[in-house]
Each structure stands twice: as C-alpha cells, then as structure tokens.
Subunit: 301 residues, 2 copies
C-alpha cells in the first residue's frame, strides 16, 4: 500500500448472519485494500464495513464486495429497523492521508459506474459526489426504501446517475459518494442542568444558527449527574474541532458553567488533532514535514 490512504465504509443490508457478513466483508480484502472493522447491528439488520486502501485497491475491493453481497442478500426478504434501498446500501469514500476530496469524488464516480455496468444496479451519487444539489442528502435519495424503488425510478426526476431505470430484483439500488470524516465529539459540563446543555447545543449547531458542519444535542448523563453537549462534526477541515470546543466553553461560561471534560467517540483523524495543536500554539507557517515521524516515513518509502 502506498502512503495515500482513503477510507471506504460500505453499509450492507445483513446484520444477523455472521457467516454471510464475514463472506461479504472478506471478499473486499486484497492488495491495496484492507479490512479494519466490521460492526453488525441485528436490530437494524445491517453491517458497517470499514476498509482502507489506495484508489486501485479500493476500487477492486469494493467491486468484489458488491459481487459477494449481490450473491448473498435478497432484499425482497429483508427486514430491519434501519432504512435501506440496496443489498449494498451506501458506499462512502473518505480522504484520510495524502488524498483530497476531489480524489474521492473521482473514485466514487468510477466505482459507481463500474457497479452499474457489472451488476445492472442503478447508482445514485450523493454528498460531495452528487451531480444535482437535491441528491447531496442520502435520506432524500433513500426515501421510499427498497419497496418504493420501482415507482421512484420511474419518475424522470429520480433517474439514476448510472445504470438502469429499474431496481435490481434482489439488490435494489446503491448510493455511492464522497464525504469528510465524521468526528463524534462530546463536551461534558460541570452541572446537572439539562437546559444549559440544550441551549449550548442549539447555539453551536448548524440547523439553529450555529457552525456549518456541526450537529448537536443536549443530553443528561443521569448516572454521573452531569449534562453533555453531544456532537457530530461533519467536516473538521472547514469547522475545526478547537473552534467548536471554544464556542461550547464560551457559551457555558456565559451561563456560569465550566467544561468538565470532552470525549472523542470512535476515531479521530490525526490531522484534526494536529490542527488543534497548531491553533492552540499559534504556530506560524507549519508544515507536516516538521513532524519527526513524517520524515521517518518519508525515508521508509
């Protein structure tokens, strides 16, 4: 694998039969495509598969994964709590190291076109890869789910970006796209007053006037007797983590409340932490090559 790393997180519509999930996830593994996580939810009857690799490796790995899923999943007999329209429901590509969003958009379109040609599956491009603004939002594309797909595709406004204007009989349709890495970031406050957390969530989130790439909710952590501003940061490059944290802290202080601590749930890209450090220290003209380990990795190539 080169040092260029893209993450790809296919969601498949099987979360109960472990052997089926493993066969599909395992099919992706190959040169330039590694499997780093499989997480299944039986209630949702859905699995989230995390792959990393370079462009060539992921393109080939994802096509093998789709082939394995089409052979094993029949949506006419699928039920689960999570909305879905395809055997492979959604395939997002995420830039991680030495790759750009443009690279991932190009890759997603290439993979989408190949899926439509090899498997006769209709493909919708979503998020950053969308070719029309009303297709950025995955929820809108998926509305009606597998059961409503034939009628939806018959509507010229919902002609797929690639492939036939009828669903694949068992595999439905698939949404393929590129998006930024999502950071789940919570800030815990030194109070048990839930309205403080709710007011801060409302101040920082995009939907009610806050920062563009923040989703937020105020929650009570009953057992600990404190409250939490629970957030999804959907683009840490444009809305940096430190700016979000500082805004939460400032809003809390305005109500006489201190920040107790923060929590990172799941994974955070190294670049997001480096950005926090560089901003905190006001470092002038920082370059990645100033990090010792980057020089070492350079020497290893």
């Amino acid at each position: 694998m080169s040092n260029r790393i893209i993450e790809c997180v296919p969601n498949i519509s099987e979360g109960r039969d472990r052997s089926v999930v493993n066969a599909i996830a395992g099919a992706a593994v190959g040169t330039g495509c590694r499997l780093i996580d499989v997480s299944s939810d039986p209630d949702h009857n859905r699995s989230v598969i995390t792959l990393v690799g370079d462009e060539t490796g992921l393109e080939q790995g994802v096509l093998r994964l789709v082939a394995a899923a089409v052979a094993r999943i029949d949506l006419t007999r699928h039920s689960g709590a999570h909305p879905r329209m395809g055997a492979v429901d959604v395939i997002p590509f995420i830039p991680v190291t030495d790759t750009t969003m443009e690279d991932c958009v190009a890759l997603s379109r290439r993979v989408g076109e190949s899926i439509s040609e090899q498997f006769e599956i209709p493909v919708f491009l979503y998020e950053e890869s969308a070719q029309r603004p009303d297709r950025r939002n995955l929820a809108k594309i998926r509305k009606g789910e597998f059961e409503g797909l034939a009628a939806k595709l018959a509507d010229p406004a919902w002609a797929p970006d690639y492939g036939p204007e009828v669903p694949h009989p068992q595999a439905g349709a698939v949404a393929v796209g590129a998006r930024e890495f999502l950071i789940a970031f919570n800030v815990n406050l030194a109070t048990d007053n839930l309205s403080v957390a709710k007011r801060i969530a409302s101040a920082v989130r995009h939907s009610s006037g806050g920062l563009r790439y923040v989703k937020a909710l105020g929650l009570a952590l009953e057992e600990r007797g404190i409250v939490q501003v629970s957030m999804n940061l959907t683009n840490f490059r444009k809305t940096p983590v430190l700016r979000v944290f500082d805004m939460v802290r400032r809003e809390a202080e305005r109500m006489g409340v201190l920040v107790l601590e923060s929590e990172i749930i799941g994974k955070i890209p190294r670049q997001a932490l480096v950005d926090v450090a560089i901003s905190s220290l006001q470092v002038r003209s920082f370059e990645l090559s100033m990090i010792l380990e980057e020089g070492i990795e350079e020497a290893e190539r």
Copy 2:
C-alpha cells in the same frame, strides 16, 4: 522495521571531508537502521548523523558506524571549534514511537559495552544512562577534551563505565547515553521591547526559577521589529509544550504584550502535538488507538 522507532544521533569528529563523512554515515545503514539526515559543520569540523530504527538494527548499525569512524578519523590530527574527546564523540538514543526511555537506556548500555569490547575504546554513560549523578552532564565528561583524556582517565574518579582506562590512540573515548527529544520552540511577541522578551525568558527557564525542562533566551528580531523568546524544551513529556506556551503568553499579558505567533524549528515529535491537542480540548481518557491512522497502521502489521 517494526513500528518501534528509536532515534540515534551519533556526532563524529569530521565535518570537512564529505567523502569520509558519507563513508561513515553510510556504514550504519542496514536492516532496521535508516539514515535520515547528515549535517556537517566545517568550522566545528564535526558532523551530526541522524539514524532511526529498532533496537537490533540500531545496535548493529552504530557498531558498523564506529568501525568506519575508527578506521578513518585520527584525533591526534583533528582541530575544530567544537569540544570533542572522540572520533565518534557522543551517541545519544532517543525514544520516538512505542519505545520508552528505559528501552533506550538499556540499548545505550548494551551498545556502549560492545564498543568497548570490539574497539578497546573507553566508554562513558551520560544523561539518562549515567550510573553516577556527576556523569549526567556531557560537558563535564568531555572537559579536557581528547588532549586531556589520558590524564583524566588516570584519575580513579574518571574510570570509564566500560573499557580500558587509557584512551584509544586515535579515537579517544566516547559518551553513550539516552535522552529525550529536544524541541526548539520560539514565541514571537507583538512588541519591539527586548526587555519584555528577556524578562519572560527568565521567568520560564529552569536556571532562573522556571520550568524544569526549559532553556530560554530573549532575542530581538531586528528586521521584523519584534522580539522573541527562544527556547529549547528538553523533555516534552514532563514539561509539555502547551504549559510552556501558556506561561509565556500569561507573562507577556502581564506586561501588556500579546503573543504574535510561535515557531517550531526543526522537528517536533507527533506525540508532543497530540499532547497539546488533548490538553487544549480537555479530552478524558484519551488513547492513541483513538487516532484513525493508528488503527490503520495496526492493521498493516
């Protein structure tokens, strides 16, 4: 190379003849031992060689480097501005990734003992590897230099940690040890008042009552019309970068001066930046495995 990375920075007493320097530096290269930098100073007549690798690779690489230096450098004919007592003058080992100071101390002692046995060179252990407190300081060990070495070694108080109590005829003696990575970190202030920078340097540095692992100096940047607190941070694990920066900023504010920016000179270990980010965000129970790329590297092994 495994993911365990130690840095080793042998200083050799040749900084003028490029072919000799390259022959000595190149001798170190081998499995588990990579050469990432060579920096020569003709006035000092000295070169600083930066190697990275794992324990086995560095042990073998450093022994090959010493052999190459002993064959090519004759200290009886050496002159230069920098103090020196050996053909290979000093060999520090620095923990970088997945290694501890204890690992580096053990490695330095093993390498020191091998050097004394293979080349009949007296070896002093210094810094973290020192076996007596008065040998922590390299300047004290080197005092008297090559020319004073025979007399020094005859003094029982200066018996070497390994090897003969007489100098090697051409190669002198060598100091081997383990130390932390040194970060060169400057903070520029929005004033042309040099006394502000000098007073802050005096407040933060260890020698005049400040933080344990900080050396600092107040300087004027004449061309830019500003002043600078220029620092060496000699142990970022025990005196973290953010604490130093915050203290400089606070002291400056006390004198009505704002921090303009900071500068990192040379390299900074990734861990030092991650530490800054985690402190800035007040992250609770952070683990390295929460960094996306760490999981990827794990999967690649």
